[in-house]
């Protein structure tokens, strides 16, 4: 039973990391435009995040080093700083997108403009970080975010599951879309699936929770259960858009459209559950990303960080978190299109992936850190292939962004 509770860290990270505003938007958008022809990317993304999050969690458990400690130690202060600036900026866009996303969900439930909700959402995010226990936080938002599973029910009840699976074997864009756009959206999906804050948060969380080598099993369970679960939710969102929105020629540019399939199939109750799930998942992601801002900066400079000490003992960490939330809310209040912010954040995240994942792979192989818990040959082979893939993605992202005019 205790073990069951412990895997919630993984589930929160998976729901909040996999199914956050970025995934809701990217998967629905992709489903509506490319039907299921890009579903394979979600699978590739799940395997990638499982592989690297397991390593990050194992490193944090064995050597007590969260990811940004490792980045600073192995890449040195200069490249580490480049990494910090890039990661912080992308993460900042993500915080903005999540805060706006929570506000958009509240708008859908209340018909009150999302801009009016933003200050309240920002305050709630900060208060939860300030006051709620880390373990309580992850359990509440992890389990309640599972309400999103109603999207899986909707796809199943639509009777289209088989047709969608058949579509998923078509590994090319539909006639209405071009190859560059196909690849651009593939990159967006990969960025949404493997967003670096997931490992920042997951590894820092392992330290916050005080994991010891006996928790390695918990680490594996978290990763092997949590992320694939997030992947299934993502595919359900994509599937709903692929069968209901795509045939009607609807392309997704508002969060409201993401809920149409669930509402259409399951009616009012389904819609309520889905909106609730979206709220919890995006709110959880807002907590994770805001904390990750503090984790990354604190770990680069060596400041006291984390919720495992009293706030006064980690003053600079809490200041960074507070300022990040305030500035993100301010950016969201400029009426910048939250969906656009989301799209840019995941695509830029994709471009920055090797910066985060390369040092993790190196340290997971270093007996100085890991003792005899270094990577197996199998995970190394797979991780190396992923590293090459991530580098290729990172090189291709900006040119594709220009060519496709950001997927327009």
């Amino acid at each position: 039973m205790k073990k069951l509770l412990e895997i919630t860290l993984g589930i929160l990270t998976a729901i909040g990391g996999f199914v956050d505003i970025g995934d809701l938007v990217a998967n629905a958008e992709t489903g509506a435009r490319f039907r299921m022809s890009l579903a394979w990317v979600v699978v590739v993304g799940v395997i990638g995040i499982v592989l690297y999050a397991e390593m990050a969690g194992r490193i944090a458990t064995i050597s007590k080093r969260p990811v940004f400690d490792v980045i600073r130690e192995r890449l040195g202060p200069r490249l580490g700083l480049v990494n910090l600036v890039a990661s912080f900026f992308i993460n900042f866009l993500t915080v903005t997108a999540e805060i706006a996303g929570v506000a958009l969900v509240l708008e859908l439930a209340s018909n009150v403009n999302y801009l009016l909700w933003i200050p309240l959402v920002a305050l709630m995010v900060w208060m939860v970080i300030w006051r709620v226990r880390f373990s309580a936080m992850e359990k509440i938002y992890g389990f309640l975010g599972l309400a999103l599973a109603v999207a899986v029910v909707a796809v199943w009840k639509s009777g289209q599951t088989h047709a969608l699976l058949v579509q998923a074997t078509h590994l090319h864009p539909p006639a209405t879309e071009s190859w560059p756009r196909y690849f651009y959206f593939a990159i967006a999906l990969l960025g949404a699936a493997m967003t670096p804050y997931e490992v920042f948060f997951f590894s820092s969380g392992a330290v916050e929770e005080g994991w010891t080598p006996s928790d390695l099993m918990v680490n594996r369970m978290n990763v092997y259960i949590g992320f694939p679960l997030g992947g299934i939710l993502s595919l359900a969102i994509m599937g709903g858009a692929a069968w209901l929105l795509a045939p009607r020629g609807i392309s997704v540019d508002h969060l409201s459209q993401v809920a149409l399939p669930v509402s259409h199939v399951l009616g009012k109750i389904g819609l309520v559950v889905f909106l609730f799930g979206m709220f919890m998942a995006i709110f959880g992601a807002a907590l994770e990303t805001a904390l990750s801002a503090g984790y990354a900066v604190g770990q680069y400079f060596g400041w006291q960080w984390g919720k495992f000490v009293r706030p006064v003992e980690a003053s600079r960490f809490h200041l960074v978190v507070l300022l990040t939330i305030i500035l993100a809310a301010a950016l969201a209040l400029t009426t910048v299109d939250p969906i656009k912010v989301t799209e840019y954040s995941i695509v830029l995240a994709a471009a920055a992936l090797p910066l985060t994942y390369f040092p993790i792979l190196v340290v997971a192989n270093d007996p100085d850190y890991m003792g005899d818990k270094t990577n197996s040959k199998f995970s190394n082979a797979l991780a190396f292939i992923y590293l090459l893939l991530l580098i290729a993605v990172s090189v291709a992202t900006i040119p594709l962004m220009i060519v496709t005019k950001a997927g327009a």
């Binding site: 859908l108 058949v166 609807i250 496709t404």
Partner: protein
Amino acid sequence: MSNPKGMGRPTGPELLIPRRRVPARVHGYDIVVRPLLALILAPLLAACVGPARWPSAYEGKAGATADQMVSAVETGRLASEIAAAKKGLAPYLSVTIADAEQAATSIQGAFDSIQPPDRHSDALRDQLDALLAQAVSGLSDMRIAARRGEFAAVERVGRSLRSVSEKLDGFAQQHA
């Protein structure tokens, strides 16, 4: 990508399976060579399509605009169907319809700001403008009704938008 009539995108909710069946067998060429070619050629091609200086470019933009407007109108119609089936919540439907209206307005505005390069393009513009205006005003009516909680009216407007949606889709296919 010439698109003969009848290969258009299905519009009715009853057509959940795509009409154009994609061949199940995918050739190695499709997987390897085409993406590579696309990656290499795309920047070159993209460089050729600037602002609508040529009539063909204008026509392409008109087609794309119609296509985008189909998305907005169909979103509104889907919301109205959900309302008719009593499957949605009032605030949610209101926001969804208002979002669709907002999208429609900005699509219309973007198209109106493009300079038509010749007489033929003027005709094209008039034709599409009429459809865009119908779409926007229909979605506005729908939003007003939704905000007032008059979902019977929402449903009525939704039905009336069907022909607009079909015409927009036809226009998009014709001028792709």
